[in-house]
Subunit: 284 residues, 2 copies
């Protein structure tokens, strides 16, 4: 199934009409606009940009059978990006061409792509109302987390019937923090497989790659986000390592030795941090 980019929303909300309905497990491809809704195409100076039309997420997808208390398991099968992207700082708008897995930086050098998804999430709990796509949270959205790339699996807590999944704001390149407020913003086709895990959920989004688990938490400050990510990972590891014979304190020691705190982004309305733990030590 393919969902075209005209079917998009600027917030995550349980009140949005679904763009489509799927029966899980389902593989779907979502066409995404860049974070500026494809309005910027190079040059200097502010074009007549509609600022209420930024950070579009294609969707929302109603996943049959997904209910509050469940988890939506999203496998990122592919991110196929366009042959150009936009990078901005203040009123400098730069169009970068993309070829052979690299972007051309102003004719000076090539930068290898690290394709990842900026905005990916589900509808938040009804009491939160509509949350603008720019703001990350327990429901995902604008986490700007580099690990959410091809091959990764994202576990999102479901807060409303059908989950109402959406995705957008793909970056062909982005560094941890997105410190200048821009990645290489790029239109893309994102192919995902959606599955529902019944009756299990975590408090925050969790990313799984071949090597690691990463808890991804968004808060007012980085300090709060990091502390919460550490706490949540400790809880997750306690349940996963229940048969290991390690005490709670020994799990903390292990996290201190081989776990890595990291910064997803520092430029959105809330800041996002991750705590990464290598899978090889969980079942060792």
């Amino acid at each position: 199934m393919r969902i075209t980019k005209d079917k998009c929303v600027y917030s995550f909300s349980c009140d949005h009409e679904p763009a489509c309905r799927v029966m899980a497990p389902a593989q779907i491809t979502l066409e995404t606009r860049d974070c500026y809704s494809d309005q910027l195409r190079g040059g200097t100076g502010n074009p007549e940009i509609q600022w209420d039309h930024v950070n579009p997420a294609t969707g929302p997808v109603f996943v049959e059978g997904a209910e509050p208390g469940d988890t939506l398991k999203v496998t990122i099968d592919a991110i196929d990006v366009a042959d150009f992207g936009v990078a901005c700082n203040e009123d400098e708008i730069r169009l970068l061409s993309v070829e052979d897995g690299c972007a051309d930086f102003l004719g000076r050098f090539k930068i290898p792509l690290n394709k990842m998804i900026g905005v990916i999430g589900v509808a938040p709990a009804p009491e939160e109302g509509a949350v603008n796509n720019a703001t990350p949270g327990r429901h995902g959205a604008n986490m700007d987390e580099k690990l959410i790339g091809e091959g990764a699996v994202l576990y999102l807590p479901v807060f409303t019937e059908g989950a109402l999944f959406g995705v957008g704001d793909v970056h062909a390149i982005m560094g941890d923090g997105e410190v200048g407020g821009t990645g290489l913003e790029i239109p893309a086709d994102v192919t995902v497989t959606l599955e529902v895990i019944k009756g299990w959920q975590l408090e925050w989004p969790l990313v799984e790659t071949e090597e690691v688990f990463a808890m991804v938490v968004s808060k007012e400050t980085l300090d709060e986000a990091v502390d919460e990510a550490v706490l949540q990972m400790h809880g997750f590891l306690k349940s996963r390592m229940a048969g290991s014979g390690l005490t709670d304190e020994e799990i903390y020691v292990l996290m201190s030795l081989v776990g890595q705190t990291g910064i997803s982004q520092i430029v959105d309305p809330l800041k996002t941090a991750r705590f990464v733990f290598p899978k090889k030590y969980i079942h060792a």
Copy 2:
């Protein structure tokens, strides 16, 4: 030259008597105690530990010719660790044996070492008085930055005559953040080459490896530390890339795409963050 571990201080201060004097460039080996001054040797329960004798730094080394306004260039030639280390959480004290580049975690699995230096610095400016080794700052000290390992070069601003360099708190293993407050704390022999760069200094410590530069900043909050590290790196890159033809805004865009914010530690009296930039884009 070899400096034995009995010659140590618990603070960085321009008032300390030098343990030795060297003429730069000088290669010296400093024997270091672990952060508990080698007082913990396994078991459970609090031993009679002298808490005013933690985080010892071997030294200080008076470097002839180093003056305020200069930079002390410290090349980490080697970190030779003992065959056991200590990892603690609350009153759980675990002794881990080290062999063939790995530590044995409670008999369950082996963890590869990532040897790094926790405390490394110079005397702060006279008006700051004596700063306990536990507290990181512009003068270095307890930055707990993983990149400060074998082969790395650390540039420290000099604030007092002779610089008064010291080093301690080696970790055989530590994750970004040191979230449980412990690395694999280990006695070591640290061999460094000290050089003086006259008339040039940065505001904060800078680490250079084969691949990257990293600005290392310590502040009350992670948010402040990250912001300052980004700002300082931008200033450093502006000077290094003056001939590149890139505008200040384009350098910010490049930092946003290929620069990486990171977390050194979140457990000391001030928190430490880094901003990492790949060297290959500086002279491209």
